[in-house]
Subunit: 117 residues, 2 copies
């Protein structure tokens, strides 16, 4: 059980997904991610620092992210970016999410009649 071998909660991992998605575009630091997620989702998703930092640490120790320190305006920041492994993880989570959202959407919209293929 290095990490996520067992069947995880099929719902969770959304913060992880969003973080990977953002970092896949450009390197960012934790505090920035917290605000970016809030802004980009119009506050529909609002994860706190208590969520973001542990996820970042977990992803890094899994080799999905790499980090580098950088001091800007006397502010010490830790910038994260995705590795090849992180890219794969992002693709995986992305697909899983899309399938899940699709299935649920179909159930919510679709009537009780048998679906046409």
């Amino acid at each position: 059980m290095t990490s996520r071998e067992t069947n995880p909660n099929f719902m969770n991992g959304v913060p992880e997904l969003l973080i990977l998605r953002l970092l896949n575009e450009k390197e960012m630091y934790g505090y920035e991610l917290v605000q970016a997620i809030r802004e980009r989702t119009d506050a529909v998703v609002a994860v706190g620092e208590g969520v973001v930092y542990p996820v970042l640490h977990g992803l890094e120790s899994d080799g999905a992210l790499k980090s580098r320190r950088k001091t800007v305006n006397g502010r010490s920041r830790i910038y994260y970016s995705v590795t090849a492994r992180g890219s794969r993880r992002l693709a995986d989570l992305s697909e899983t999410w899309t399938n899940l959202a699709g299935a649920i959407h179909r159930m919510l919209m679709g009537g009780q009649s048998a679906e046409a293929v």
Copy 2:
């Protein structure tokens, strides 16, 4: 803390949502729900009895569901159907889910460019 007053996990409650959705069409019993969810989602969502029964009990004690016993072929079943309160809950959860899925979808699809309003 009657039940869900605090800010819950923004992700959870999908089993609850699906169960309410199915029961809103016609009354069903637990065992039937387990199979219906599996079939209707092509096994993308596969909740077990250990998930369904506690949710049913919780919803009933919250007044969102009502139940009646019925014996069919010597099989004793407990059929559940949604109350007015359950209908409201379904509408709420439905909207919350739609917002959430929409926000995430936008993040997954949308590029880094500033979104046009």
